[in-house]
Symmetry: C2
Subunit: 441 residues, 2 copies
Amino acid sequence: MNTSSKKVISVGLLGCGTVGASFFKLTEDSKIQILKTAGAELKIVKVAVKDKNKPRSVYISPELICDDPMEVVNDDSIDVVVECIGGINPALELISAALDNGKSVVSANKELLARYWNHLHDKAAAGKVQLFCEAAVGGAIPVVRALEVSLAGEQISRVTGILNGTTNYILTKMSEEGLAYEDALREAQEMGFAEADPTADVGGHDAASKLAILSSVAFHSEVRADDVFCEGIENVTAADMDFAKRSGYTVKLLAVAQTLGQGAEDSSLGDSGQKIAVRVYPAMVPLTHPLASVRLSFNACFLEGAASGELMLYGRGAGGFPTASAILGDVMTAVSYSSPGTASNSLKRADIYPVGGLENKYCISLYVSDESGVLAKVAEVFAKNKVSIRSMEQMGMFSEARLVFITHMAKEDDMQRTLAELASLACVEKVGSFLRVYGDE
Amino acid sequence: MNTSSKKVISVGLLGCGTVGASFFKLTEDSKIQILKTAGAELKIVKVAVKDKNKPRSVYISPELICDDPMEVVNDDSIDVVVECIGGINPALELISAALDNGKSVVSANKELLARYWNHLHDKAAAGKVQLFCEAAVGGAIPVVRALEVSLAGEQISRVTGILNGTTNYILTKMSEEGLAYEDALREAQEMGFAEADPTADVGGHDAASKLAILSSVAFHSEVRADDVFCEGIENVTAADMDFAKRSGYTVKLLAVAQTLGQGAEDSSLGDSGQKIAVRVYPAMVPLTHPLASVRLSFNACFLEGAASGELMLYGRGAGGFPTASAILGDVMTAVSYSSPGTASNSLKRADIYPVGGLENKYCISLYVSDESGVLAKVAEVFAKNKVSIRSMEQMGMFSEARLVFITHMAKEDDMQRTLAELASLACVEKVGSFLRVYGDE
């Protein structure tokens, strides 16, 4: 597309829920601004919806509305297709058809891109068009473009994200107001920040999809949602929060991706070089770290690059208008630049490094029987498995007594073996919580 | 430039100090990555330096080095010129010549761009080439590109930056270690974070130049460094820091730009619509605000957009490699995209809104004589000038006694009149400090 020869850009919109309707309204409201900055008029010429008669929050002229999405992707007059349907089907089929028809596509669909990255980018490359997905990760936060363009020459070593607003809202309420997990979840549901079935959010799966996309872009290798090791926040307790705070930490659901390779930490990497480790889990984050300041439903991505150093991008990770803002940025990019950037190259499949080989510090709480010699028995299990204890504190009394340990750096496999053995000790009534501690020693 | 027809991009480098040398090394080290993401080889073919014989931190083949910068800007084989000289002359002349010669230019020169934005962008537009300046603001932080591309359709209402690493380092040391200003400055100088003559940094002038550039990009109007109202951190005391902390704040040197207009806050705006208010000053920032978490020499930009909501970009604001990383991102953009984006349009001159008309909350400390009736006299001055007091606290005792006030929202002009009258009261020995309080009521 060249703005000097073409003054009207025709956009077809798939889906008109919260995000689609917000994008429609934002485009209407921004006409002057868009003309000024892109030198082109952006015109939404067709909107495909499920039910033509459903009342909507924005007025859309009836002649724009259709209920057959194939009409949009097959319309020769349309330059850019914006997909706001979500889910795998029929989004996969529709985007594929649009790309095959030589249309650039802007999608906010994290599930789809975290599963079909190469499939879709191959189609984009074949059609010499572009596929954009800024809105699929971190809402309005321009992290995908930062990685693809500003940091295109940069060696990114690690990406650490708070990528799910629902869980961050719950954890913030637990931390700041001392709420129990269940009460904070209920409040999030009442506020509209959490679904009636919150599994995808609280289980970490939503963050895992987003991390897969970010990793693909940051490391130039296709990472899929299934590659991501995933633990949710369901077992984080008010007591964990309290202990974290007093120790100078807060608890966040982190999505972490990093490269290991080329003569680095582990000899199991083989010849091919770079491996990528990807995981989502609740972790203790030092209060002095910028990620600790990400409160409520906000999201953030913390990037570590060889030359750039530490970068963090922070903003609204969800919601109609923030997401629409990212979509509009992608549409404007599709309009303003003619050559397909890195956005439209398919990637080699990532070589995934198993989480068991990673090193972390850990925080473990154990409910133990109130008898002498318990600590010695417990400490022996740690020592046997090569996990070294940095600090221990007894919390609570009598039947509520628990021991909270923070370890030095230890291998995840060793830690997991330690946990299993601790659970089987007669003097350990149960393993309370288990959190990674963020930060290098 | 089109990467499909041209496989080698020739870069000419002006200046080889810390930033220039870092860019040279980074480009060498990133060859494979660049080929992978841009599909082109980036080759630095000429490096202009002041003194050919000066020892350098990187090895540069002698045949690349010249001591006449005009050789670089007039070399027909060069596609992109990277300017790392700094200052107005001869950078202005050299960049002008490069643009006239049809070369895209990447510059890290904040002083120049904060004074000659339109002059240079007119030349770029005339030559159908591009002028990039990501590295001029916030080092590695991709804020210029975020504003120009990702947020191109967005209505930005306010930009709040911590844009100077030296002052942020000093203020962090004062806040976290209780250092006096002079001691923190000395430490910053010893660490290499502050110059022997620190005026440009501590006086806020460096931040003002960067704010001018950010405002030009965010509001699509040319703002110059001279437009920016500027107060430095020289008068911030350890006592201010202490009071701020106990009140739930920290003190930061903020660079703030906002739009006012179109039927908004003030009738003095006239017909033309948007005015822009730009200022740099030390301010109290709530500890819960993400800007409060920006420590040491880090920089950040907090953006407020109509659709995107609140965004913050955080990272290393200076240093050889972070700055080189931003330059490389710009060079890759120049290489990857063919049409000049908004980067290369000249802008209408901004209509500057006088700071005196803005509203803020303020924190004022007054050293007063130890006698009865002082508070009544002081309060009367506030009231007379329509500045309403939110809280008052007496700090210290006897000859060290001072009153610290926080006001409600009040007009800057009214506050300045209040300050002048307070200073002239017999019972006021001196006005201690005067800080704006960040945050809307």
